[in-house]
Each structure stands twice: as C-alpha cells, then as structure tokens.
Amino acid sequence: MIRFEHVCRRYPPNIAALTDLSFNVEAGELVLVCGHSGAGKSTLLKLIAAIERPSSGAVLVNGQNVGALKRAGIAVLRRNLGLVFQDQKLLFDRNAFDNVMLPLAIAGYPPKEAGKRVRAALDKVGLAAREKALPVALSGGEQQRLAIARAVVGRPAILLADEPTAHLDQATAGDVAKIFRDFHQVGVAVLIASCDDTAFSNFVPRRLVLDHGKLQ
C-alpha cells in the first residue's frame, strides 16, 4: 500500500531530513512512527501526502509514484488519504459540521449524503452534540477529535496523523489514541507520527523508529 524506496529528503543548503529510507506499510496495518523531535517523522508523512517531494528515491502509494504526480494527480491522491495535521488546520470561522463537511464538498458528494456522513463521523469521535460549535469553543482534545473526524469522513483507506496527541493530557490522549485503534480495527491503514508513544504503546503492533532521518 505504501512503499518507500531509498528515499532521501534534503533541505537547502544540504540538511538531510531523511536518509535512504526503505519500508512497506500494508493495507490495514497500524504503524507508529516515533523518534525525537526533528527526527524526520513529519517529513515522512508529508512525502506520502505529496506535501513535499523526495530529493531522491521513490514514495509509492497504491503503486503510484507520488513524487512524480502533477497538481491534478496530487489532488486525487489527497482526496483518498485521511490527514490529521500537527496544528490541526481547522477553519476557525466555520463550525464543527462545516469543518468536517469540507473534504466531502471538495470530493463533490451530494449534500444529503454528505450531511449523513458528517454526522456519522462526528458521532464516531464523540462530537455529535457539538456540530454547531466553532472550533474556538472546543477544548484541545475536542479540536483534535474534530480534526480526526474531518480526516475520516471520506472513509479513506489510509489515515496519516502527525502528533495527534501533542499538548493533550494523558486521559484525553488515551481517548484520541483509541479512536485511531478503532479505525485500524475496521481495516484502515494508520500511520501515526509521535514523539510520545505512551498513549499508543498498548495496541501498536509495529513501530518505525527514526533517528536523525535514518530508520533504526
């Protein structure tokens, strides 16, 4: 499903963020990408979503080399991924319902079906009662769950989450982690990048440990 072949990513002037990375992630697998801050975890996820391109090597998603995709191809790729960003990237002038609706509007879902899916996704993350709330009125944990609802509303086969439990207390982080476990259990491939693996340690079957951009 996801394949890294000798992937390197360098930033100018010549700073290596990732060096010669090769691994596979199969369909339905749950993988925790861990390592200290600056190890290259976020870069790895960005390469999968074609937010960045590899300096060398190839990143393949469903057999497609994402580094070679054009703008339209990148849009199609991203519509088939669920992305949870480190800074959540919620739209603060839209309520919870509209935030979760955005990926479906982009994908061109009919409004009626989209509405049902949005409510189902909000229900899944325990925010069904807060659909009218603006993100600013939500707690940190609720905002994170809202970001997860937006990522999964399109029912993607791959879910990528960058530091989804950062800045959350232990209990809230545990709740968020359970949501990822639930999606994994219904067959979604989940890649979580996190420097703190406490919340995930009980149920993560596979870890990729990065150190200064290299796989340990």
Binding site: A75, R78, N80, L83, K89, L91, I106, A107, G108, P111
Partner: protein, 299 residues
C-alpha cells in the same frame, strides 16, 4: 449533477457573502467600475443622439439634379422613372422650371430682371433625399452616377456637410472605442486587485482545501463567481448612471433638436445595448479574476 450544482451553489453563496461582508468597500469598488463603464456607454449614446439630431435637422443631405434647359417632358419623365427605382433614395420631387420661375418672380427685385430675359432661364430640377445610412462616399458615388444620366446637366450634393459629419462620427467612434478599451483595462485592474485581496484573506482556507485534495477549479470557482458578479453589478450600475443622465438631459437635448427644426427625441439605451454592456462588464470581471488567480493561486 446534484453534486455539481451543489458545488456551484456553494461557490455562488460564498461570493455573495463576500460581496456583502464589507458593504462600503464593495460599494466603492462597484462605483468605480460603474463610472468606468458609464463613460464609454454614455459616449456611445451621445454619438447616436448627436447623429439623430444632425440627421433630423435642416442639414439633411440632398442631391439636386438640374436638367439641361432644352430637356423636354419625355426626358424629364425618364429621369423621374429612374429615380423612382433608386433604392438609395428615400424620396424625390420635381421642381419644374415654371415653378422656379414663378418663385423668383414673386421675390422683390427679381421680377424686373426676369421679365427682361427673352424666355424662362431655369431648367427643370429634381431634389432627391438619400437614405440616412449612406456614407459620404456612397453619396459621392450616387452623385457621379446621376451626372451621367441623359439630359442631366449638373448634380449638386451637399457633400461637405456630409463629409464633415462622417469625419466627426468616425472620430467620435474611435474616441469611444479607445475610452472603452482604457476603462475596460481599468475594470480588469480593479477586479485583479480585489481578487488578490480576497485570496489573501482566504489563504488559510485555500491552504487547508489544497491539503484535503481540492483542485484549482474548486478553489478558484468562488473567486470567479465573485469577479463576474462584481463585473455584472458594475455593468448594472453603469446602466443606471447612463439612464439617469439620459433622463436629466432629455429636455435640453429635445430643445436643441427643436432648434434644428427636427422632431428628434432622446434615444436611451436599447435592450441590446444593455445586454452588450452587462456582457462586456461580466466578461471583464471574469478576465480580471482569471488573471489574478493565475498569478496568485500559483503562489
């Protein structure tokens, strides 16, 4: 289909919301566009009314065909027949030599001079009125054609007046076209800047949408609606301005037309004029948006 309609509906609603979110700045932009479009539209209307007044006045071009003095009744009738079949003429009338003689005899001072002459010195003549749409060149061509007809001694055309009018109209049309071009570019520039500001205020939404897989078409659609709606509203504003000015000038222009002994009334913008004005404004709004998005969305 419903998804496609929903996407366009969302984009249209967004555009309408953005137009009303800052009413004063929207109003000022629309005013600038309306005035920019009203100038060439008003110029065009002025030209058309000027032409109407000029053509309705006493200075309507006429062709005078003077027969030779020895032309008999048969020759005069033959010319009358030819003129009857001329499609370039609106009307014509015969001024007989007897009629002319009688008119001059009635004028004080002329009677004695004319009675001293051995016979009637005046020829039969035709006064022909050409169609309004004939250019100065066409009138000249007509004059040349008539002068070759048998027993036609001389053909007079008030071509200097017609040429002058033609040149003035030509100049006016070029002026209006240049004005439309320059102010049209101004409208494109206004839309370009407005869309740039809209893009800047929506940067976070654009960024998130891109990350979630939005295409350029999806991101650009609301801005296209915004730009074209702004252009359309500006066009409608220009229409109102021109209509208001026309209403205010109706009485003085009709008075002017009266001085030229014409019965001209002020023409306002026709439905076709309004459709062209609105279409032009909308197209320019779309163009400004396309240029702005091409420049700023890529960034």
């Amino acid at each position: 289909m419903s998804a496609w309609l929903a996407q366009h509906g969302r984009a249209l609603l967004w555009a309408l919301r953005r137009l009303t979110v800052a009413p004063l700045s929207t109003l000022l932009s629309l005013l600038a566009i309306s005035v920019a479009l009203a100038l060439p539209a008003g110029g065009q209307l002025l030209l058309r009314n000027g032409l109407q007044i000029a053509k309705s006045g006493a200075a309507t071009p006429e062709l005078s065909l003077f027969m030779s003095v020895d032309a008999d009744r048969k020759a005069v009738d033959a010319i009358a027949q030819r003129l009857k079949h001329q499609e370039a003429l609106k009307e014509f009338r015969l001024v007989s030599r007897g009629e002319t003689l009688a008119r001059f005899q009635a004028r004080p001072g002329f009677a004695e001079v004319i009675s001293a002459l051995p016979g009637n010195p005046f020829p039969d003549a035709f006064v022909a009125v050409p169609r309004d749409d004939l250019s100065a060149a066409a009138l000249e061509k007509l004059r040349a054609e008539f002068s070759h007809w048998p027993k036609v001694e001389q053909v007079q055309l008030d071509s200097a007046w017609a040429r002058r009018l033609d040149a003035l109209l030509h100049l006016g049309r070029i002026g209006v076209a240049l004005l439309a071009l320059m102010l049209g570019l101004g409208l494109v520039a206004i839309t370009f800047t407005t869309i740039r500001l809209q893009v800047l205020t929506q940067l976070s939404e654009i960024e998130v949408s891109r990350l979630l897989g939005a295409t350029d078409a999806f991101i650009g659609r609301p801005f296209y609606y915004f730009g074209t709606l702004q252009g359309l509203a500006g066009g409608a504003g220009a229409w109102l301005i021109v209509a208001a000015v026309a209403m205010a000038m109706r009485a003085p222009l009709e008075e002017l037309a009266g001085l030229y002994e014409g019965g001209a009334t002020l023409q306002s913008l026709t439905a076709i004029d309004v459709a062209i004005l609105l279409g032009f404004a909308t197209a320019l709004g779309w163009l400004g948006t396309a240029l702005s998005l091409g420049r700023h969305l890529r960034d």
